[in-house]
């Protein structure tokens, strides 16, 4: 149990996917102008990352690894993610039109969000050591928790930043700084704040 807690804290705060690992920066900068769109995007990403990680993890351990086909990871994972995003879109449209309305425009974008492929590849290739345990590849339960926590960290950073950016829009910024440059400098200060969490785990 303690190990799961460590995974969650480390994935949300210490190794925040946006501010420490630099994954999924494009949508982060792209849709963080308004808090409501940022929250919608975070929800969609959270859902897809967790689902995609479980499916690619199973694909890797039951199909690719037994046949020694690990070199096909990149190509098969991206296909799984693309298919999954498409499927989620179709299912949502039928089952929950209101949620589809809310997430609709973000779903197709998620295929090319590198956070999804990044997390999927990380959990099957990188060895982790949490709280003094020997470093090991994650099992399915840990991988799922890791994916969920990572995407919550994504949502946290995204919504915090969108809040900051809404205020930023009202300020008078020098011309050359307008738009992305000032946003990047703001993120830098946020990343500095998140550095304070390092050493916690």
């Amino acid at each position: 149990m303690g190990e799961y807690l460590l995974i969650i804290i480390s994935a949300i705060f210490v190794n925040n996917i946006l501010l420490a690992q630099f994954l999924g920066i494009c949508p982060f900068l792209g849709v963080s102008n308004k808090l409501s769109t940022a929250a919608g995007m975070s929800g969609a990403v959270c859902f897809v990352i967790t689902l995609a990680t479980v499916v690619t993890y199973l694909l890797n351990s039951y199909v690719l690894a037994p046949f020694g086909l690990e070199f096909l990871q990149t190509i098969s994972f991206i296909l799984v993610i693309a298919a999954l995003v498409q499927m989620v879109e179709i299912v949502l449209k039928k089952v929950s039109p209101s949620l589809y309305q809310a997430l609709g425009i973000f779903l197709p974008l998620i295929t090319t969000n590198c956070a999804v492929l990044g997390v999927a590849i990380t959990v099957v290739t990188k060895e982790f050591a949490f709280g003094g345990t020997a470093s090991h590849l994650l099992n399915l339960g840990e991988a799922t928790v890791y994916a969920l926590a990572t995407s919550l960290g994504y949502g946290l950073a995204m919504c915090l930043f969108a809040g900051l950016r809404e205020h930023l829009a009202l300020n008078d910024v020098p011309k050359a700084f307008r738009g992305l440059p000032i946003a990047l400098i703001t993120v830098s200060i946020m990343a500095m704040a998140f550095l304070g969490f390092s050493g916690m785990v």
Binding site: A20, C26, Q73, I78, L79, L184, A191
Partner: protein
């Protein structure tokens, strides 16, 4: 458009990092030193040129509805080729760049060029476009890498000119955002033509 301007437009006017603002993840993550930035840029250029060539060849026969999955598979194939080549010949570089080599698949620059250029231009033009954008990307990454390495570790391309450490924050995450932000300001101020 002349052949030369196809290449040079990627340097400033259509610079993928500072002007188009694409492919931010590898830009921020791998530029901890000038050498890393340069290597990441070259790796991306390899995929960009080859995928541009193949996509411009197959574009006329691919139905419009399935073109994106087809492009992604083509790009993923070249990324896998690159991964295997790097593991075989430059394993140290492959270790350093790590996750960001497979992630070239979802680099928006590569898919963006396929969509915006390669699928409606000739093979030669597409290859030159890939080369130009690739050089532009490599230059930006190297510049960011140089600045971060000077401030962060007090060295350039591994050649150290101060004793001891630099300002560590510039090698870590906050420095990446800060340097990119300020370089973008300089780019907007002096290079971008409005």
């Amino acid at each position: 458009m002349s052949k030369l301007s196809l290449i040079t437009k990627g340097f400033v006017k259509d610079n993928p990092t500072f002007s188009l603002v694409l492919g931010m993840c590898p830009t921020l993550a791998t530029t901890t030193s000038a050498m890393n930035g340069l290597e990441m840029g070259l790796a991306t250029m390899f995929v960009l040129i080859l995928s541009n060539i193949v996509i411009s060849l197959v574009a006329p026969v691919v139905p419009d509805k399935v073109r994106i999955p087809v492009y992604i598979v083509i790009i993923a194939t070249f990324v896998t080729v690159l991964q295997l080549l790097m593991q075989a010949y430059v394993p140290a570089v492959y270790e350093t760049l790590g996750l960001f080599i497979p992630l070239i698949v979802v680099n928006c620059i590569v898919l963006g060029r396929a969509e915006a250029f390669a699928n409606k231009n000739s093979v030669v033009d597409s290859a030159l476009d890939g080369l130009g954008i690739g050089i532009g990307f490599t230059m930006s990454l190297t510049v960011i890498g140089i600045v971060r390495e000077i401030l962060g570790s007090g060295s350039v391309f591994g050649w150290k000119f101060i004793a001891g450490d630099g300002i560590l924050a510039f090698v870590m995450a906050p420095g990446a955002f800060l340097v990119l932000g300020y370089l973008m300001v300089l780019f907007n101020k002096f290079l971008a033509k409005k």
